[in-house]
Every structure is written in C-alpha cells, then in structure tokens.
C-alpha cells in the first residue's frame, strides 16, 4: 500500500485487474492528481476496507476515502452489490462513488445510478484518454465539487 500524506484527499480504487491497477496508478501520477490511492481487488475487500474490519482495521494505514472509483465487474461481491451496501451506510452518505468500468450497456448505467452512483465513466481504451479523464475528474471532484464535512465515524 502507498504512503498516505495527511491533508491530501485519498481515493479508493476497487479494481481486480492488476494491469488496470498498474495503468491507473500511472495515469493518476501522469494526471498530476494531488491524492493518495488505495486499492482493493474485489467487492468483499472494498466492503471490509470501508467498514474498517479485518485486515483494514487500521484507519491510519487505510484512511476513509474522499472518493471511491468502483469497477462493476468484480470477483465475489459485484460493483452493484458494493453500491447497494454503501447506500445503506449512513457514514458513507457524503462520499462520492464514481463507477469506472468498461461497459456502456444501458442496463449497467441505469442500475448503477439506481443504486446511488454519483457518476458513471467508461474506461477509455487509449491510455492518454484515461490520463485526461482522471485529470478532469480531479479538477471536478477535488477542486470544484463541494462535499459536506464527514459526520463523526465510529470505527
């Protein structure tokens, strides 16, 4: 896991494909995002991380994310199930969840929004476009968009 600096926002990337993880890390760096990146490999891990249970009980090493980048196609618990789970957590009510996935199938998009996604982005096939997308994402969600102060969370 990465070193987390205090004060800068953190992103939780839920992604099972190691190549995608590698390339996304690279794109985050290239996009010049001022954010730390934590990665979990499946839906169950995402839930454990957000719930600070099991291997993720240390909130210092695994800080609550300011933004969640969620793939839909995941082993164990699917992205949609993670969305449903998040929707029921009062503590996560103010955390933006952005779906970042390959599919542009209407059904996927509709369901993602139904389950409470804040945004739906398709992973671009060209790496440079991914860089551009993450750059714009940073501009919008970190520099433009206002979020409510997080309510006290009992870990």
């Amino acid at each position: 896991m990465e070193q987390h600096q205090m004060g800068i926002p953190s992103i939780l990337l839920v992604e099972d494909n190691p190549d995608d993880v590698l390339l996304t890390r690279r794109a985050v760096r290239k996009a010049g995002l001022q954010a730390s990146l934590s990665v979990v490999g499946d839906g169950d891990e995402a839930v454990a991380y957000l719930d600070a249970t099991g291997a993720f009980s240390d909130r210092k090493a695994f800080p609550m994310p300011s933004l969640i980048l969620l793939d839909l196609k995941l082993p164990k618990r699917s992205g949609l199930e993670v969305l449903q789970w998040i929707g029921k957590r009062q503590a996560l009510a103010t955390t933006p969840v952005i779906v970042l996935t390959s599919s542009t199938e209407e059904e996927d998009i509709r369901q993602a929004y139904e389950y409470g996604a804040n945004s739906y982005l398709q992973k671009p096939v060209a790496f440079n476009e991914l860089v551009g997308l993450l750059h714009r994402l940073g501009l919008y969600w970190f520099d433009t968009n206002l979020t409510a102060p997080r309510t006290a969370v009992s870990s």
Partner: protein, 470 residues
C-alpha cells in the same frame, strides 16, 4: 361435416309436409266417397219411395173399384162413402208420384198417361154408380170398357214399375260401388297412416343415429383440437423459453464482451503507450512505429466492439418508441460531430424543419450520426465535404434525406453497404468498422421504418430513411 347436419333436417321436414299433404288428400277422398255413398243411398231410398207411391195409386184405385162394386151389389151407403174417399185420394197420390219422378222425363210421361187412364177408369166407375143411383140397369159396354181400362192401367203400372226397378238395380249397384270405394279409401288411408308413422319413426331413428355419430365425431375432433392446442401451447412455451434462454445468453455474451474483452485491449494500449513514453529513448524508430501501430490497432478493435455492441443492442433490447423531433436530434448530432466537421471543414446544411416521427431517440441519434459522419468521411482526399440534410412527410411516413457531394456508392453495392462488416474501402483509405450502415438499416427497421441509398446526379450518395409519423 358441418354442412351435412342441417340437410337431413330439411328432408325430414319435407317428408313430414308431403306426408301431411298425402293424408289430407286421402281424408278428402274418404270424405268424397262417403258423400257419394250417401247420395247413392238417397237414390235407392228415392226409387223405393216411387215404387211405394205407385203401389199406393194402384191400391187406392182397387179400393175405389171394390167400394163401387160393393155398392152396386148391396146398395149400402157406407160403400158409397168409401168409394168417394178413395177416389178423392187418388189424384193426391198421383201428384206425389209425379213429384217423386220429376228427375226422370220418361217416367213423367208414363205417369201422366197413368193419370189420364186412372181418371178415365174412375170416371167409368163413377158413371156406373150414377146409373145405379138413378136406378138404371148396368150397361154391359160400360163394364167391358171398365175392364179394358183396368187392364191398361195395370200394364202401364207394370211398365213404370219395371223402369223404376231397373233404376233401383243400377242405383243399388252404385251404392255397392261407392261402398267399395269408401272401404278402399279408408283402408288406403289406414295403411298410409301406419306407413307414415313407421317411416317417420325410422327417419327419426336414423336422424338420431346420425346425430349421435356426428356428436361423437365432433367430440373426437374437439378432443384432437384441444390436444393439438395443448401441444402447440407447450411448444410455444418451450420455444419462448428457448428464445428467452438464447436472449439471456446473448445478453450475458454482450455483457462479457462489454466488460472482459475490452480490459486486455485497454491494457495492451496502456502498455504500448507506456513503452512510447517511458522507453522512448531506448527504442529504435521502427520500434516506436510498431508500438504506435499496436495502439492504433487496439483503438480500432475497441471501436469495433463498441459498434458491434450497439448493433446487437438493436436486436436484443426492446425499443421504447415515442414522439421525436428529428430537428432536435440533428442539432445534438451536429454538436457531437463538431470536431470531425471542423477538421474536415465540412459544409453541413440542415434545412429546417425536419419531420417529427415516432421512434427511439437514442437509436435515431445513432442513425443520424452514422449518416452524417459517413457523408463527411467519404470524400476524395483534399475535397471539402458538402452535406445537405432535409426531410418531409408523405403517406404517413416521415422522411429524412442526407445528401453528400462525396465519392458515392457503385449501384451494385447499394444493398451490400447495409450489411454488417461490409466495407468497400481499405482501412488506410477510409477507416471504419463496417457496422455504421447496418445500424442505420436495422435501427430504422426496428422502429417500423426503412433505409435506402441512391446516387445523386453529380455522383454523391443520397441516403433516405423513412420512419412512421407520430
């Protein structure tokens, strides 16, 4: 089968009506026979009456003669009174006789003669009486003429009687005949009635039998129909399930393609880009070209997947049809293709207003986008594309036309261009996936419309899409 059911009923009614007619005629005949028999009998009675009256005339005459003779012998007053009584009754009797034979001229004639003879005879008797009363002696000539007269009367009466008796014979014969006829008619009527009853019974038996048979056949046919229906229903359910399964599989397949097939592509492109950025100093120029080509190929494949998914979505998903203003759709499409239009310096003229049709907005946008980008793309190198978009309403259909000044399409390929993966040009010349026009036609057809292409007089292509009006 169904037509033969009312037919026996019709013949049945026919038979019944004919039977009733025959019975009526038979009854009429019997009635007539009875009447004739009664009439014949009347005549027999009549003939007997005539004979009786004739006898009565003779008897009275004889009585008058006997009374006259008694007086002549005894001179007693009572004989005289008897004579007068009998003589007075004779004309009445003869008148009655005359009345009875009024129908027979021969007898009338004979009776008139009889009347005269009887009158003469009575006159002779009277004359002898007068002579006796006057105390004169009896004239023998008078007696002799009286006897002759009596003889004449008897002969005449015998003639009349013989005539009447021959009539009686004929009339009795007639009565016999009428009776035989009557008996025959009644017998025939009886036989006919019995026959009719038997016939009707047999007919109704047969009718019932046929009805039973037909009812059985009908039930059998109904059962078979029901079974066939059930089988069909089963098959339909089976097929529907199979189709639903196939559709679900197709959905899953599309889902897999959308998610899983793209991931490795993206990674290939990502790493090729990484090579070009991080390892650029250590790569030969050829290596850089290869890495760039890897990236380009991957991007093309991704577009192919995107188009294929869009095409297959047209087949597998239900299209929600609503009122769509093609003018609005076209504006959005032009906005989306802005960079392509700018790069090619294309001149796009949209002739407002465009028709409002019944369709799916997303699919319509895809169709218009594909047509517009094709019109801009397929131009000879270095030529500025000119696109003319217009539309109208005709015969309940909205029509939209996209006309370009491009390279056109050889008429032999006018059908082929709408097929999936059909391409007329190399990738280097005009890049593309070969699915755009397939989406145009499939999309138009899914919305109840159609798409076709022809060449413009100056060689460009002219695509026409027809869609149902609102």
């Amino acid at each position: 089968m169904p037509s033969s059911l009312p037919k026996p009923r019709a013949t049945m009614w026919g038979v019944i009506i004919v039977s009733i007619g025959v019975l009526l005629v038979a009854l009429l005949l019997v009635g007539k026979s009875m009447q004739r028999e009664a009439e014949s009998w009347q005549w027999v009675v009549h003939t007997r009456e005539v004979l009786e009256r004739l006898q009565s005339v003779l008897t009275r005459t004889s009585e008058a003669e006997a009374a006259q003779r008694g007086f002549l012998l005894s001179g007693a007053e009572q004989h005289l009174a008897s004579f007068r009584q009998a003589a007075a009754a004779v004309p009445t009797d003869i008148a009655a006789l005359q009345q009875s034979t009024i129908d027979n001229p021969t007898q009338q004639q004979a009776i008139r003669t009889l009347q005269e003879q009887v009158a003469q005879r009575l006159a002779i008797l009277q004359q002898a009486l007068q002579m006796k009363l006057a105390g004169e002696a009896l004239d023998p000539a008078l007696l002799a003429s009286g006897l002759r007269q009596k003889q004449l009367i008897l002969e005449l009466a015998a003639k009349i009687k013989a005539e009447e008796e021959s009539l009686l014979l004929i009339r009795q014969d007639r009565v016999q005949h009428a009776r035989a006829e009557l008996i025959l008619a009644v017998g025939a009527l009886f036989v006919l009635s019995i026959g009719l009853l038997v016939f009707l019974r047999v007919m109704s038996e047969r009718d019932a039998e046929r009805l039973r048979a037909e009812s059985t056949q009908l039930k059998e046919a109904q059962r078979q129909l029901r079974e066939a229906n059930e089988l069909l229903e089963q098959r339909i359910q089976e097929r529907t399930r199979q189709i639903a399964d196939a559709n679900a599989e197709l959905q899953a397949f599309a889902h897999t393609v959308a998610h899983d097939l793209r991931a490795p592509l993206r990674n290939v492109e990502g790493f090729a880009s990484a090579l070009l950025e991080d390892e650029v100093d250590r790569m030969s120029d050829e290596g850089k070209v290869f890495a760039a080509r890897i990236s380009a190929a991957v991007v093309r494949m991704d577009r192919l997947i995107t188009d294929l998914l869009a095409y297959s979505r047209l087949s597998r998903s239900e299209l929600q049809l609503q009122r769509v203003d093609l003018g609005h759709v076209m504006q959005a499409v032009v906005r989306d293709l802005e960079s392509q239009i700018r790069e090619s310096r294309a001149e796009v003229v949209i002739e407002e207003p465009l028709p409002t049709v019944k369709g799916n907005e997303g699919v319509l946008a895809q169709i218009m986008s594909n047509l517009l980008s094709n019109a801009i793309k397929f131009v000879p190198p270095g030529i500025r594309p000119r696109v003319h978009v217009f539309g109208d309403m005709a015969e309940g259909m909205g029509r939209i036309v996209v006309e370009d000044s491009g390279i056109g399409i050889d008429p032999v390929h006018h059908q082929r261009v709408f097929g999936v993966f059909e391409r007329l040009h190399g990738q280097e010349q005009y890049p593309g996936t070969g699915i755009g026009l397939a989406i145009v036609r499939k999309g138009a057809e899914r919305m109840g419309g159609s798409a076709r292409v022809e060449n413009t007089p100056d060689g460009g292509a002219r695509f026409e899409v027809l869609l149902p009006a609102v």
